[in-house]
Subunit: 120 residues, 2 copies
């Protein structure tokens, strides 16, 4: 099984720009689950999209307007949300912050070809 | 499929005491994935244990000594880790904080019998 390292360190992990004012760090993963940090500047958008993966997320900091299946809510540090498979979702960042996204199964398209394999 | 609500709010979600100085909020879930917040007082422990579920976690705040498969590391806000299925793991909280744990598949034993079902 292809897996991430056991430990991920903020200072040692690259940020990839994935949109205007939006950056991503890929953290732990295997075939079943993946954790991703997504950092937003104020005004940064996650454009409406959908995927087969189930998603559960946590607002680590900031304030976001989140849309899921046409329902818009304002969510803040400490809140979270669930995206059912194929549900159309997106967000606008109202105050700079970070979302912690977990996907099941893994979103392999986020893993670089030279990804790290399992090492202690 | 049994699912959580689409949105979870910190202020509206019960904390369950799951150990000495350790409390848990269950956030989003379906059969594929689950997100859980685990809040630790300084000195709180996650005792060594293992499970079939893959786990990916994020340190939302605080400092922890984390043990995975006999390897101990100090991790802080912004860091993360990956627990392969059946790997023995546990932690000691060195400075009060919170871990964000995601599991694939869902840990149904964390869901109360009167859990919330999918509603908009």
């Amino acid at each position: 099984m292809i897996q991430s390292n056991l430990f991920q360190y903020n200072e040692a992990t690259d940020w990839k720009t994935v949109g205007d004012g939006v950056q991503r760090q890929v953290f732990g993963y295997d075939d079943k689950v993946m954790l991703v940090k997504v950092k937003f500047e104020k005004g940064g958008c996650g454009v409406l999209h959908n995927h087969a993966h189930s998603q559960v997320s946590y607002v680590e900091s900031g304030v976001f307007e989140m849309t899921i299946d046409g329902t818009k809510k304002i969510i803040r540090k400490g809140d979270g949300y669930y995206i059912p498979p194929y549900s159309v979702h997106g967000c606008v960042c109202l105050e700079a912050g970070m979302l912690i996204d977990a996907f099941g199964p893994c979103r392999w398209e986020f893993v670089d070809h030279d990804h790290q394999r399992y090492t202690l």
